[in-house]
Symmetry: C2
Subunit: 313 residues, 2 copies
C-alpha cells in the first residue's frame, strides 16, 4: 500500500468549506526571492513547467523589482521571454512601481500584483513611503495596468502583526484594503508577513472585512509558518468562505532551521489538508511532491514541507 | 518590542472553544523513547523539573516497558525514585502489561496509561496480539490498577490511518475505545500514530464517539505532525469540545529531517495557538521555549518546533 492511501479516502467531505480552492502558487516569486542562492533561468523555467504539469493554475512567475534589491529575480525579462505559457495557467508577476509596470507591459503580462503595507512602519521601512503615500505610487500603476487590460491583484502585508508596531487593528487593515479595491484591484491577498496570527484573529479580520461590505470572494490569504500557524489559519479562512490560498511549492522561501526563515506555507501541506477534506484543487499531489523534492535537491537543501519529507524523504 | 508581543494581544477570545485546555506533556516519555540517544537520568530529572516550573500540570514521566525494547527508558525506577514531585503536577507512566504494573505500583505511581491498538494489524505487529486478545492483556492491568486506587488512561493508537490497513473505520475505533472505558479507563487519548488524519476525519470520529454516548469530556487527542496536520487537527478537536491535548515539549521525538520522524506536535506551537485564542493553559511559553532550546542543545540537534526556532533560534 502506498503512503498516499493511508488516510485520505476516509475523509468526510467537510461541511462549510468551499468545494474548490484555487492555489495561488508563489514559490517561483515569493519563494525564490527569499532563497540565498540565485537559481539559473533554465532551472526556473523547468520548475515552472513542472508546476504547471502538476495542475497548478496560477504560478506567480517573477517580480519586476530592481535587481539591486532582489538579484534572485534579475532575470525577469529573460524568464518571461523564454516561458512557454501553458493554456489555462496564469503567470502573474509582481510590480512595485511604474518602472516595473512598463517592464511587465513590455513583457506582455496580462496579470500583475502590487505589494502594499497595512501598517505605517512597514510602509516606511519596506516601501520607503507611508500608509498614504504608497497610494500615490500605486495609483498610476493600477490605472496604467487597467487601461492596458491587465488585471491587478493587491497584496496587503502585515495584516495581523508588525515587527515594529505589534498587533494591527482590524479597521486599519480594512481601510487600506478597501482603498486598494477601490483603486481597481480585483482581489486582495491578506498577508501575515511575520507569521504571528492565530485563528481568532483570522476570523476577526475576515468578519471586519465582511462588515465593510467586502466578502470572502474578493479575498485571498497568505500565511507564513514562522510559528506553525499557517495551515490552521488557512483552514479558518476557508471556513469563512475564502477560496484562494497563497502557498509555496516545497515551502520554498523559508527553512525552519535558517535564521532568515520566512516560512511560506508549503503547497503540499495545504494539499494534504484539502484532499483530506474533499476540496478540489486540480493539483496532483504526487507530481508536486516529486517536483519539490527534485527542486530541493537542486537547491542543495531539504524542503521544509512536512509532506515532501514524509513522501519523498 | 519582544517577538512575543507581536501578534498575541489582538486575538479575539474565540467562540466555541474550551476556556481552559489541559496539556498532557508526553515529551519525557513518548518523545525520549523515540530519540536516538539515551539521555542520562539526571538530565531527564532536570528536564522534568523545568517543565513543571514552566507550569505544565501533567508530565508523562517514563514507561515501564522492557529495557530490551526501549533502552531509552530503562532507568524508569531510578528516575521515579529520584523525582521530586511538584505539588499539583501529575506524573503518569506508561505500563504495557502486568509486569509493568507491578513495577509502577512498586514505584508508587498514582497514574498509569495503557497503550491499545484500534486496528488488527497494529495489534499484531506492535503488541504481538490481536484486537480481541489485547484486552486479555489489559484486563488484569486495569483491574489491578483500579484495585490499588490508580487511575488508568487508555491510549488508542492508529485511530485514523494504519500503515498496513489504510483508513480505519470510525465504528471500529469507537468499539475498541468503548471497551477501554468499560474496562475502567477514565480517559481515552485518540492517536493519529502516523499523522495522516485531516480535519474532516477528526470531526467524523468525534461525532461517532458522541453518537455512541462518549462525549468529548472523556477524550483527549494525540496528533503527530508527519504531514503537517497536527495543529489543525487539534484545533478541530477543541472546537468539538475536547479539552485535553497531548503534545511534546520542543517537538521531542520527531525531527522533520530525520528518517524516523514521528513528528509529535510541539507543545510550544500548540501554546502559541491557545494563547492567541485566549484559551488558558497555565503554562508560561517563554519558560517552556527556554527549556526546550536548552534541551535541544543537550541532545545536539535543533528542535523541530517552529515556535522554539522562531523565539530561541
Amino acid at each position: 500500500m502506498g503512503t498516499r492511501e493511508l488516510g485520505l479516502p476516509q475523509a468526510a467531505p467537510a461541511s462549510g468549506l468551499p468545494s474548490r480552492v484555487t492555489i495561488w502558487e508563489v514559490g517561483p516569486r515569493d519563494g525564490l526571492q527569499n532563497e540565498k542562492s540565485i537559481v539559473p533561468v533554465d532551472l526556473k523555467l523547468e520548475f515552472l513547467d513542472r508546476l504547471g504539469e502538476a495542475g497548478l493554475s496560477v504560478l506567480e512567475a517573477t517580480s519586476f523589482v530592481s535587481p539591486k534589491w532582489i538579484p534572485q529575480l534579475a532575470d525577469a525579462e529573460e524568464l518571461l521571454g523564454k516561458l512557454s505559457r501553458r493554456p489555462g495557467v496564469r503567470y502573474p508577476v509582481l510590480v512595485p512601481n511604474e518602472r516595473g509596470l512598463q517592464r511587465a507591459l513590455a513583457a506582455g503580462c496580462p496579470d500583475i500584483a502590487i505589494f502594499a503595507s497595512a501598517t505605517e512602519t512597514f510602509a516606511e521601512r519596506n516601501l520607503n513611503s507611508s500608509l498614504d503615500k504608497q497610494f500615490e505610487m500605486f495609483t498610476p500603476v493600477v490605472t496604467g495596468a487597467r487601461d492596458a487590460g491587465v488585471n491587478v491583484r493587491g497584496y496587503l502585508s502585515m495584516c495581523f502583526g508588525d515587527p515594529w508596531e505589534g498587533p494591527v487593528r482590524y479597521d486599519q487593515v480594512v481601510a487600506v484594503g478597501k482603498r486598494l479595491l477601490e483603486l481597481g484591484c480585483w482581489q486582495l491577498s491578506l498577508g501575515d508577513t511575520i507569521g504571528v496570527a492565530t485563528a481568532g484573529q483570522v476570523e476577526g479580520l475576515l468578519a471586519a472585512f465582511a462588515d465593510a461590505g467586502i466578502g470572502p470572494e474578493r479575498l485571498a490569504v497568505h500565511f507564513h509558518d514562522t510559528y506553525g500557524q499557517a495551515l490552521t489559519n488557512t483552514l479558518t479562512a476557508l471556513r469563512f468562505g475564502v477560496s484562494t490560498v497563497d502557498s509555496s511549492a516545497g515551502g520554498l522561501g523559508g527553512c525552519p532551521y535558517a535564521e532568515s526563515a520566512t516560512g511560506n506555507l508549503a503547497t503540499e501541506d495545504l494539499l494534504w489538508t484539502l484532499e483530506g477534506l474533499g476540496v478540489e484543487t486540480g493539483v496532483n499531489l504526487d507530481e508536486l511532491v516529486a517536483t519539490s523534492a527534485w527542486f530541493a535537491e537542486k537547491l542543495g537543501r531539504p524542503s521544509p514541507s512536512r509532506v515532501v519529507n514524509a513522501l519523498a524523504g
